[in-house]
Symmetry: C2
Subunit: 163 residues, 2 copies
């Protein structure tokens, strides 16, 4: 394995690690726990899970993998804040999360180094020539941190002492 | 810039981005706000900031940059949970955070690609031969996610609607 292969593998391993951590947490949380707000007056766990799923979903077109799986979810979980509209059923949100994780995992497994270093779909060819760091890997690194950010909030729904 | 240089730069840029985001948040929080618990019965913001600083500090020996700046802080902010002992003064914790960020930033600016891909100090030469991903870059990726995780909690101390 050459240096670049190694580094890309580390970045995808890191993504998988944080997906696994969130899944472990989700397994311990009942729908009732997950429906609570993470702190008084803040987002509910269910909204945050739907938000993470919708952000996963949006990675599909952004990384050139295909269209959104559930375009109707973007409005609920990205455009609108929590409590603006009624959320879909708990089971639907949990399924949406699983489905988007699986879709990304399938696509990630087929990616090459050159693929990861190619431009993502919200930058033009011209701009990418000047800013080669605006590649698909950058989306992966940012979204991994985005998972961790909300993971740090979701743990607040579990028993104290585990944060 | 070759592919590996680019990827390493993206990883260090990502670290810097999340440090900047936390600093921006810290600028908006008074000591009083930062001393509050992030949610009922959870860690205080001041403990979390000290924890992030102590984890930064521990990166110095782990990455071979030198000894801990403040060994006495490890016990308070890593070994012990919040509320086990009285915390240092707010100003001391804020300074500790700045100091460790600056120390890391100085060392990071001198690192080469080969340096990032060399083993960190909690793996032996022999094990590293079998597990080359246990390099310094891995520490950076993990710690960047660790920053994001607690950043997601620290934002709960600010005004609602910003999480």
């Amino acid at each position: 394995m050459n240096q670049t292969d190694l580094v890309i593998k580390q970045a995808t391993d890191s993504w998988n690690l944080y997906i696994t951590r969130i899944n472990k947490l989700l397994d311990t949380l009942t729908d009732e726990q997950l429906s609570k707000d993470i702190a008084p007056g803040r987002n509910s766990g269910m909204y945050l899970l739907g938000h993470l799923a919708a952000v996963n979903d949006a990675m599909l077109p952004l990384l050139g993998f295909g269209p959104l799986l559930h375009p109707e979810m973007e409005d609920i979980f990205v455009e609108k804040p929590d409590k603006a509209v009624e959320l879909p059923a708990s089971q639907t949100i949990r399924e949406y999360w699983k489905q988007t994780c699986e879709a990304l995992s399938n696509h990630f497994s087929k990616m090459t180094v050159d693929g990861w270093l190619s431009r993502h779909n919200s930058i033009s060819e011209t701009d990418f020539q000047k800013e080669p760091h605006r590649n698909k890997l950058n989306v992966l690194l940012n979204r991994t941190n985005h998972l961790s950010y909300h993971h740090g909030q979701l743990v607040l729904l579990g028993s104290a002492g585990s944060e």
